[in-house]
Amino acid sequence: MTALLTEATPVVDTAVRLDHVTKSFGRAAAAHVVLDDITLNVAPGEFVCLLGASGCGKSTLLNLVAGLDQPTSGTIDVPGGRAALMFQEHALFPWLTAGQNIELALRLRGVPRGERRAEAQRLLELVRLGGAHGKRVHELSGGMRQRVAMARALAQDAQVLLMDEPFAALDAITRDVLHEELIQIWQETNVSVLFVTHNVREAVRLAQRVVLLSSRPGRIAQEWAIDLPQPRRIESAGVADLAVEITDKLRGEIRRHVQH
């Protein structure tokens, strides 16, 4: 059911390639290393979860891949051009309607005016919000906002979707539904997903591959390939078994930080 990956298999075709990426903040001697020698490949259409406790630099890593920040050393390659990024907060613009938020993303991508409305409607229907085009952000529930945010990210037509704990602020029932919808959208669009979370079960529920990061500095501690068939249930035994295994490893990583 699960296989331990000791050595990263050489990938020819890749959606995201991080090669010995290190990121530190501050200068010279006082520099604080956040990410240390990260080498990671995400294949086209692959769903990878980055898992780690606080201080593992998960969000820093996504910012680097999104191009919002530059690595201290090493190289980051996104052959598809650029990556779309989804945050824990929906980050939708409150001065626009749900549909206009998506249309703005399309406009910034260079989609001609005449095609934007229909394309925005198609994306809204993809996230099951066909009737929400004219709704203001504050009129939508938390789950609906994250679905519009997902549609806006998809509107960028990027090959890679970066998700920074996008469901962490939602209640468990809504999160469960959104997991299922995300998997359906991922299967329909064949986009590569790099999903950051600190929730082990969420990682196992969603990903084809889980990458565990250690904390301070963030290093790749271990990887698991998950071949449980989708759709999975977060409460299923298969998910639970693997979650136990990964949690044990995660706790081991955290225990290393006890001050003696």
Partner: protein, 320 residues
């Protein structure tokens, strides 16, 4: 599976017809079943979490918004009338409300009232619009360019604390008794407050919007146009509203001091004219006109814009 069906039926309730749910459950295709399940559940969750905001009934608007100020005005008039009837002051120093009303009525019959208001109002509006054109780029520069902010930011907020009447002598020396003097005073009063409003608006923009904008490709000028300016709009509108109040006050100060027949008769000049004639009803009537025009512009133009901006962003419902 059956527990999921139960939940979905329970959750969707009135939002989805039971027949549809049943049909979906009966479907033999497991994948399609799961897909329609999740759509039903999410539709049910949406229905549960969506709140409907009711409009306040007109009667309640009247009793909660319109009635209190009317009562307050009636009370002020009653106290005023009482002071007049009790002869607290000589009648030529303290005229009755009716005297003031008659003064207004006479001005109306003479046909001067509208032209006097128009003289001042057109100056005020033109001065305000020029202030917007000057204050907006200054505000943007101060908000976004660090050296500019360090250099003129403190001066800009300092300028706001100078009463505009203090500029009148300087303006008279520079420009003589001309329209230029009046516009100079209006601009010196309104430009800093409009610029400061925009600076405050930009400072309050949540960083997440700027990050989201950058990941969508809104950088440079496109970022300013599509993200920064719309996000700063509530603060900017508040600054415009305050800018109008400053324009109007500065204008009155300028008209009052720099009054000359060549400049035409505005409200400020009429106030000074009434004082010279010891026409107390005329003085009070003009003050009331100044108040009405100032408040009228705010109520009829700026408040609806401000309410629209806040309501569309969901910032107004909580304060109701």
């Amino acid at each position: 599976m059956s527990s999921t069906e139960l939940t979905s039926t329970e959750l969707t309730g009135a939002a989805v017809e039971p027949a549809e749910t049943k049909a979906a459950s009966a479907s033999a295709n497991a994948a399609a079943d799961s897909a329609s399940d999740v759509s039903d559940i999410s539709a049910g969750l949406d229905a549960l979490e969506t709140q409907t905001v009711e409009r306040t009934p007109l009667l309640r608007v009247f009793t909660s918004k319109v009635l209190p100020p009317l009562i307050a005005i009636a009370l002020v008039l009653a106290v005023w009338q009482f002071a007049y009837s009790a002869h607290l002051k000589r009648p030529d120093l303290l005229p009755s409300p009716l005297d003031v009303w008659n003064s207004l009525h006479d001005q109306w019959l003479q046909g001067t009232i509208l032209s006097v208001i128009w003289t001042s109002l057109s100056r005020g509006v033109l001065g305000f619009l020029i202030s917007v054109l000057i204050g907006t780029p200054i505000g943007l520069l101060v908000a976004r360019v660090k050296p500019v902010r360090a250099a003129i930011g403190p001066i800009l907020s300092g300028l706001q604390s100078i009463p505009s009447v203090a500029w009148v002598p300087a303006a008279v020396i520079w420009f003589g008794l001309s329209n230029a003097t009046i516009y100079a005073v209006v601009l010196l009063g309104a430009v800093p407050s409009i610029a400061n409003g925009l600076v405050a608006g930009v400072d309050q923009v949540q960083p997440i919007y700027l990050r989201a904008g950058r990941t969508l490709g809104a950088t440079g000028l496109r970022g300013i146009r599509h993200v920064l300016l719309p996000a700063a709009l509530p603060g900017y509108v508040a600054g415009l509203k305050q800018g109008w109040a400053f324009s109007w006050r500065s204008l009155m100060a300028a008209e009052l001091i720099a009054s000359s027949p060549a400049l035409g008769l505005g409200l400020g000049a009429q106030l000074e004219f009434s004082r010279e004639n010891l026409d107390m009803p005329g003085v009070l009537a003009t003050i009331i006109l100044i108040l009405l025009v100032g408040i009228g512009i705010e109520l009829l133009i700026f408040n609806p814009i401000e309410r629209y901006v806040l309501r569309t962003r969901g910032l107004l419902t909580a304060r109701r």
